[in-house]
Amino acid sequence: MVPVAVLWWVATPVYNRVLLRSAGGILYLLEHPAVTDLMAKGDHDAYIVRRDFPPAHSLVYPFRVTDVHFHLLLLGALFLAVPGLSWRERLGNLAAAAMITVAYDVLLIVFIVEFAYATHLGAWSLAHYGAFARNFYGLGKHLLDLPFKLALPLLLWCAFYLPRLRAAPATDGPEKT
């Protein structure tokens, strides 16, 4: 886990910007007119900016981008620690899982933006989002930001390696028990 953590920490500033640009692109496609910017603040934080708000109120919501993707630590540790596989196979599987994780992280940022719009802007939120939308984005952000973010590495690991885990007791049980 330590080498993965070092690599993650070094790559985080670049990855944060990639995530912000990707999520910003998706928001650009979803919004009519497109008014949202995701502005990086330092290496780890970002602001949601609305261009249609007065300049004094355009920074509507801050969030920590680094917190979005620390599950990559778990993903790396789990995928690289699988015994009995060549490094080529481990890294190949990790790369495939990491691509899914990147897509998840982009989706989470989109949900964070919509959650902020739906629930954190007071009267503006009430005027533009109905009760269902507020609950949808609130619950969606809650589920994506906590349980599924934390469980995603395990889910992906299971998708790749569960058959091996299930087969292990039957094939080399005596060694493991």
């Binding site: 809650h142 934390l150 469980a151 998708a159 885990l165 007791p169």
Partner: protein
């Protein structure tokens, strides 16, 4: 430890040989066990083959996602939070405070707040180990095993997760008191990852030690 359950009306295909783990949920070939029904569209046939070859794995993943979503939705209900999660978190705060006092920190408790002369922490959702417990619970319940194995795994796993979480809370307090500049990273990234990783490893350990004859009860 447990008896093998069989449903005569739905015989299961034999367990396939250990897969090479070349990718997620092998699609398999037409000669695999439970090869898809012939004559259908190629896409449907491939999907049927995928399902037949990986039925247990797919069932596990779907059940895991459903249980995880349902349990976290449940604890997000205000009434559950106020009547179950908050008292539980208060208990963790009391236990953590007691341990810190054993270490001579002279802390006092105010609800879920541990207040000391040098630092104070408020134990909130996310710091009470409930997330790791629910992920572990969903994984154990979704995994095909006997109920006795599941209950034993849950009891020991949840106890272990809470012990790890106790170490986390105590160490975070001490980090905040003596190394405050490391507190944020330690709080959000390091310990969160460590507690979840411990939950995952406990589950892998549990699933790996299930007896071979421990067939599904789902």
């Amino acid at each position: 430890m447990s008896r093998k359950r069989r449903k005569p009306s739905h015989p299961r295909p034999a367990r396939p040989a250990p897969p090479p783990a070349g990718g997620p949920l092998s699609g398999g070939g037409a000669d695999g066990p439970g090869a898809g029904p012939g004559g259908g569209a190629p896409g449907a046939s491939a999907a049927a083959r995928l399902w037949h070859r990986n039925r247990r794995e797919i069932t596990f993943l779907v059940l895991f996602i459903v249980l995880l979503g349902a349990s976290f939705t449940l604890i997000s209900v205000n009434w559950i939070n106020d009547h179950a999660i908050e008292p539980f978190t208060g208990g963790i705060a009391r236990l953590s405070g007691a341990v810190l006092n054993v270490f001579g920190q002279h802390v006092a408790l105010h609800g879920t707040v541990i207040q000391g002369p040098r630092f104070a922490v408020n134990i909130r959702n996310g710091c009470n180990g409930v997330e790791a417990m629910l992920i572990f619970l969903a994984a154990v319940l979704a995994f095909p095993a006997s109920w006795s194995s599941r209950l034993a795994g849950l009891a020991l796993g949840i106890l272990a997760i809470q012990i790890i979480n106790l170490v986390r809370v105590v160490s975070l307090y001490l980090t905040g008191a003596y190394l405050p500049r490391f507190f944020d990273a330690s709080h959000t990234v390091i310990w969160q990852s460590v507690v979840i990783l411990c939950g995952v490893l406990l589950w892998v350990f549990w699933a790996n030690r299930l007896p071979p004859q421990d067939e599904p009860a789902t």
